[in-house]
C-alpha cells in the first residue's frame, strides 16, 4: 500500500484517486485527532506534531507530508476540515479533501487557511519521507531518498536500512546504503570495526563521509592516550590517510571546477564579443549600441515566452532565430539610417551609436517598464549534471559553453566558406577594389552589420538565462566585449575565441585567492600590459587590410 502511494505522490499523479476511505480503525481516529491539531499548532510546536503524524501507520501519511512540505495543505474554515488546495486559472483554489471522498467546490483564498511550515520543518519532513521512500518501487525515488539520508545520517533509521540493503537490487543504491551503515559502524563500532569501515570508506567523495572521519579523528585526538594503545595509533593513521586522500581528491576536483567556471565565463565573454568582432573588427564601426543588441535579444526571449506560455521548454530554441532576426533587423536599420552616412569617419560612429544605445535603453524602459522581466528557465536548463558527489556541472553553463562554440563555428563557416563571407571580407579589405569587381558594397555593409547585430541578439538569448533581463543588460557587457576583441586582435575570430577563454579562465583561477574585484583588476592591468607588448592583440591582422 505504502509503495503504491509513494509512487503516486512522487510521480505527481492526480490526487483524486488517492482519497480512499480506509476503515475507521482506532489508529485512524488517532491520525484524525493529530490532523485536527494541525491548523491551531504554532510553528514552534510543529516539529513534534509532524513526528507523531509520521509515526502513524495510516497509508495517507506520505501524501499528507508531501503536501504539507509543498505548502498545499490548507484548512477549509467553513467545513472545518483539511484539504489539499491548488490554484487554478480562475484565481480560486481547487480542493481535495484529505480524509473524505466527496468532491469540493473551488473556493477563494480567503476561505482557506494555510498550514504553515518553515525551512526546519520542511527539512524534517524531507528526512521522514526519505526514510519512507527507501522501500519505494521506483529505483529513482529510492536513490533520491538514500541521497537525502546520506546528507543527514543522524536522521536515518539504521535498522530499516540494514533490512532493506539485503533486498535492494540496484547496485548504486546498495552502495550508498552501505556507506550509511559504514558511517554508523565508524561512529559506534569497536576499533577493529572502525578500521574496517575506514578501509571501505576510503576513496569515497561524499562530504558526509569526510565529516564523519574528521569527527572521529577529533574524538580520538581529544582522548589523548594515543601513545598507550597500539590500535588507537593505527586508527589515527588510517583516519589521517583517508582524510588526506579525500582532501587530495577534493583539490583535484576543485581545479576542474575552476576550469569549468573559467570556460563558462569565457564562453559568456565570447558570446558577448563575437558580434562585435564583426561590427567593430571587420567593419571598423565602434558600435556602442552592441550591448543593446544583446538586450534586444534577451527581450525577444521574454516576448516569445509571453506569447507562447505553454511552450517554455522550447522557447529558447524559438528565441534564437527570432532574436537573430530582431537584432539583425535593427542592426540593418541602424546601418542604413545612420552608419552609412559616416563612411570614413569610424570614430564618429562611436558618438552616433552611443546616442542609439541611449535611445534603445529608454525604448525598452518605456515599452517594458524599467523593471526586470521574468525569463523562465526551461527544465532542461536547470539543475546540474552530477559527475560525483563533489563535482557537478550546472546545465545552463554547460549548454552555454556548447552554444557559444556552435555560434562561433557557424560564424566562422559563414565568413570563410560562404559567398556572403567572401564579399564581407573583400569589402572590409579593399572597398574600392571590391566595388570594381561588382560587389554591392553598401548592401554588403548592411548585411554585415545586421549579421553582427543578429549574433549579438543570439548572445542575448543566452544571457537571459544567466542574468537580469532589464534595460541595463547591455551596459554590463559592453566594456568586456571591447576588451575581448582588442585583446584577441581586431577582426580576428580566432583571436576573440582565445581571448575570451583566456580572460575567463584567468579570472576564475585568480578569484578564489584574490576575491572577484581584485581578480578583475589584475586581469585588466595584465591586459593593458599585454597590449604594450603586442600592440595589435593576440592575433594581429596582416597585410593591407590591417589597421
Amino acid at each position: 500500500m505504502l509503495r503504491i502511494f509513494s509512487l503516486l505522490v512522487f510521480s505527481c499523479m492526480s490526487w483524486f484517486a488517492l482519497a480512499e476511505n480506509a476503515p475507521a480503525t482506532e489508529s485512524n481516529t488517532q491520525f484524525e485527532t493529530l490532523l485536527a491539531q494541525l491548523p491551531s499548532t504554532k510553528l514552534s510546536k510543529m516539529a513534534p506534531l509532524v513526528d507523531k503524524i509520521a509515526a502513524q501507520p495510516s497509508p495517507q501519511v506520505p501524501e499528507l507530508l508531501q503536501h504539507l512540505m509543498e505548502g498545499e495543505l490548507y484548512y477549509l474554515k467553513a467545513a472545518n476540515e483539511l484539504v489539499y488546495a491548488q490554484p487554478n486559472q480562475q484565481q480560486t483554489y481547487d480542493l481535495t479533501s484529505v480524509l473524505k471522498t466527496e468532491a469540493l467546490a473551488p473556493v477563494s483564498i480567503y476561505a482557506l487557511k494555510k498550514i504553515r511550515t518553515n525551512n526546519r520543518i520542511r527539512g524534517q519532513i524531507r528526512d521522514l519521507l526519505a526514510n519512507m521512500y527507501l522501500s519505494n518501487s521506483s529505483p529513482a525515488v529510492r536513490l533520491q531518498a538514500i541521497k537525502q539520508l546520506l546528507d543527514n545520517p543522524s536522521k536515518t533509521g539504521i535498522t530499516s536500512i540494514t533490512r532493506l540493503i539485503k533486498t535492494e537490487q540496484e547496485k548504486e543504491i546498495r552502495e550508498l546504503m552501505s556507506v550509511v551503515l559504514l558511517i554508523e559502524q565508524l561512529e559506534k563500532g569497536q576499533t577493529a570495526e572502525k578500521l574496517a569501515a575506514i578501509s571501505q570508506l576510503e576513496g569515497r567523495l561524499e562530504p558526509t563521509v569526510k565529516n564523519a572521519l574528521v569527527k572521529e579523528l577529533k574524538k580520538l585526538s581529544a582522548s589523548q592516550d594515543l601513545s598507550i594503545s597500539q590500535d588507537k595509533s593505527e586508527l589515527h593513521k588510517a583516519l589521517t590517510r583517508a582524510i588526506g586522500q579525500m582532501e587530495q581528491d577534493g583539490d583535484f576536483y576543485q581545479l576542474l571546477d575552476y576550469l569549468f567556471f573559467g570556460l563558462s565565463m569565457g564562453s559568456v565573454l565570447l558570446l558577448a564579443a563575437i558580434g562585435l568582432t564583426i561590427t567593430f573588427g571587420v567593419m571598423g564601426v565602434i558600435n556602442m549600441a552592441h550591448g543593446e543588441m544583446m538586450m534586444l535579444g534577451a527581450y525577444t526571449t521574454y516576448v516569445i515566452q509571453q506569447t507562447f506560455p505553454n511552450l517554455i521548454e522550447y522557447s529558447l530554441l524559438m528565441a534564437v532565430p527570432a532574436a537573430f532576426l530582431v537584432s539583425g533587423l535593427v542592426g540593418v536599420l541602424i546601418e542604413r539610417g545612420v552608419i552609412r552616412f559616416l563612411k570614413g569617419r569610424p570614430l564618429e560612429t562611436l558618438l552616433a551609436t552611443f546616442g542609439i544605445s541611449l535611445i534603445l535603453q529608454q525604448l525598452v524602459r518605456t515599452v517594458f517598464s524599467p523593471l526586470n522581466r521574468q525569463v523562465e528557465a526551461p527544465q532542461w536548463m536547470s539543475g546540474s549534471l552530477e559527475i560525483n558527489p563533489i563535482f557537478s556541472l550546472t546545465y545552463n553553463r554547460l549548454y552555454i559553453i556548447i552554444f557559444a562554440l556552435m555560434v562561433f563555428f557557424s560564424l566562422l563557416m559563414i565568413l570563410k566558406k560562404s559567398s556572403l563571407g567572401l564579399h564581407v571580407r573583400a569589402v572590409s579589405q579593399n572597398r574600392d577594389m571590391a566595388r570594381a569587381l561588382s560587389i554591392k558594397s553598401s548592401w554588403v555593409d548592411a548585411i554585415t552589420f545586421g549579421l553582427g547585430s543578429g549574433v549579438a541578439g543570439i548572445a542575448g538569448v543566452a544571457l537571459s538565462q544567466l542574468t537580469n533581463v532589464g534595460p541595463n543588460l547591455g551596459q554590463d557587457y559592453i566594456i568586456d566585449s571591447f576588451l575581448v576583441v582588442v585583446f584577441g586582435g581586431v577582426g580576428s575570430l580566432w583571436g576573440t575565441l582565445v581571448a575570451a577563454m583566456t580572460l575567463g579562465t584567468f579570472n576564475k583561477f585568480l578569484e578564489p585567492s584574490m576575491g572577484p574585484v581584485l581578480a578583475n583588476i589584475i586581469v585588466l592591468v595584465g591586459l593593458v600590459l599585454f597590449i604594450q607588448k603586442r600592440p595589435k592583440g593576440l592575433f594581429p591582422q596582416k597585410g593591407r587590410s590591417a589597421e
Binding site: 565602434i286 569617419r345 566594456i479 591586459l527 593593458v528 597590449i531
Partner: protein, 390 residues
C-alpha cells in the same frame, strides 16, 4: 593638410581673445548680478545658477583637455575621466582633512570612514594631504604621473587607434574597481563627502561658491591659453602632423612618442585641475567618476562641440550639460530619447560639430580670403590617416 590651424595667425589669436573675452564677460556679469541684485529681480543670477555654471565650466576644461589630445594629436582617450577623478580625489583628500573634528565621530585626525573601518592612523599616502601646497602639487602630479607612465608605455610600443582607446578605457575601469574597494582607503563606494570648508571658507556660503565659479573661469581661461599656445607653437605643428601622418613625421626624424607623451601629460594635468575644481562645487567625489561611460561622454562633448578647435570643446561640454540639466527636469521620464537623439542628429547633420556650424555661418557672412580658412573636418583626415597606417 590644410585646416584651421594652418590659417593666418590673426584669426587664431582672435579665437583666444574671443574665448577669454566671453569668459570674462560671463564671469563679470554673473558676479555682479549675483551680488548686486536682490533675488526676484530680473537681472538676478541665483546661487543655483552660479553653482551650475561652475560645474559646466569644470566640464568645459575637461573637454578642452580631451580635445587637446584627440583633436590635435589623434589620441582618442576613452579614459580621461580617470585623470579628472584623480585630480578630484587629490582635492577631496584635502577637503576631508579640513573637516577636522567636525565629522560625525568627532575624530580630529581621521576622516569618518576610516574611523568607521577601525583604522587607527592615516595610511601613508594620505600624509601631507592637509597641506594646501601639497594638494595643489598632487592635483597636477597625480594625473600627470599616471599619464606619463601610461603614455610612455603605450606610445613607445606604438599602441594606436582603437587599441589605445580601449586600453585607456581598461585603465579607468581598473581604477574604478580599485577605488570601489574599501581597502584602498578612499572611502569606497561613498567616496569622499561631507566637506565643510575650503581654505577656511565655508563651502555652504554663496560667496565661496561664487569664488569657486570665478576660479573655475580663470582656470578655464588659463587652460585655454595653454592649449592655444601649445597647438600654435612649433611643437603643436609637429603634434598635428603626428595626428595626420605619424609615420611620415617619424621618417622626417622626429620622435613622435615624445611629443605624444608630453601632450598627453599636459592634457591629463588640465583634466586633473578640472576635477579638483569640480569636487568642492558638487560636494563629493566617488569612484563613479572613473566609470568608462563618463569618459565616453566627455569624448561626445568634444565631438558635438567640434573636434580640433578647442573652443568647440567648451561649447560642446556646456551645451550637452545644459541639455542634460534641462531634459532631466522637463521630461524626466523620457529625456534619454532627447539626449540620444541629439547625439545622433549632431553626428549626422553637423559633422564638424557646433563649432563647424559657427565657422560656416561666419564664412557665409564674411567669405574667406583664403580657402585655407575652411575647416577641414579634422576628424576625417585624422581617422583616415590613422586607419591607413599599418
Amino acid at each position: 593638410m590644410k585646416n584651421l590651424l594652418h590659417s593666418p595667425g590673426f584669426k587664431k589669436l582672435n579665437s583666444l581673445h574671443f574665448v577669454i573675452a566671453i569668459l570674462f564677460i560671463t564671469t563679470l556679469y554673473v558676479t555682479v548680478c549675483n551680488l548686486a541684485f536682490a533675488p526676484g529681480s530680473f537681472f538676478y543670477v541665483s546661487n543655483y545658477t552660479v553653482s551650475l555654471l561652475g560645474k559646466y565650466l569644470c566640464y568645459a576644461l575637461l573637454a578642452l583637455a580631451v580635445d587637446l589630445v584627440w583633436g590635435y594629436c589623434g589620441i582618442l582617450s576613452l579614459g580621461h575621466g580617470a585623470f579628472f577623478a584623480l585630480g578630484g580625489y587629490a582635492m577631496g583628500m584635502y577637503l576631508m582633512r579640513q573637516i577636522g573634528d567636525r565629522g560625525v565621530y568627532g575624530n580630529p585626525d581621521l576622516p569618518d570612514f576610516m574611523v568607521f573601518l577601525n583604522w587607527t592612523e592615516l595610511p601613508w599616502y594620505w600624509a601631507g594631504s592637509d597641506n594646501v601646497l601639497f594638494m595643489v602639487l598632487l592635483v597636477f602630479a597625480g594625473p600627470g604621473l599616471l599619464a606619463y607612465i601610461f603614455g610612455t608605455m603605450a606610445f613607445r610600443s606604438r599602441v594606436s587607434g582603437v587599441y589605445l582607446s580601449i586600453i585607456t578605457q581598461a585603465m579607468t575601469y581598473a581604477l574604478m574597481l580599485s577605488f570601489f574597494r574599501n581597502e584602498m582607503g578612499f572611502g569606497g563606494n561613498n567616496g569622499l563627502t561631507d566637506f565643510k570648508e575650503i581654505f577656511g571658507f565655508s563651502l555652504q556660503s554663496p560667496d565661496t561658491k561664487l569664488a569657486l565659479f570665478v576660479a573655475t573661469a580663470v582656470a578655464l581661461a588659463f587652460g585655454y591659453a595653454v592649449s592655444h599656445f601649445i597647438v600654435n607653437s612649433k611643437m603643436g605643428r609637429v603634434v598635428t602632423a603626428i595626428r595626420d601622418a605619424e609615420d611620415r613625421v617619424r621618417f622626417v626624424g622626429y620622435k613622435p612618442q615624445h611629443y605624444k607623451v608630453w601632450i598627453f601629460v599636459v592634457s591629463a594635468m588640465l583634466a586633473g585641475l578640472a576635477g579638483a575644481l569640480y569636487v568642492p562645487q558638487v560636494g563629493m567625489i566617488n569612484p563613479g567618476e572613473f566609470s568608462p561611460l563618463n569618459s565616453i561622454e566627455i569624448v561626445i562633448w568634444v565631438a558635438i562641440g567640434g573636434r580640433g578647435t578647442l573652443y568647440g570643446a567648451i561649447i560642446g561640454a556646456v551645451v550637452v550639460s545644459y541639455a542634460k540639466t534641462r531634459f532631466t527636469a522637463i521630461m524626466p521620464e523620457v529625456w534619454l530619447f532627447g539626449l540620444g537623439g541629439l547625439f545622433v542628429l549632431v553626428t549626422l547633420l553637423l559633422p564638424k560639430g557646433i563649432a563647424g556650424l559657427f565657422a560656416s555661418v561666419l564664412n557665409k557672412l564674411d567669405p574667406p580670403t583664403q580657402p585655407a580658412n575652411e575647416p577641414q573636418a579634422p576628424s576625417t583626415t585624422a581617422t583616415t590617416a590613422a586607419e591607413s597606417k599599418s
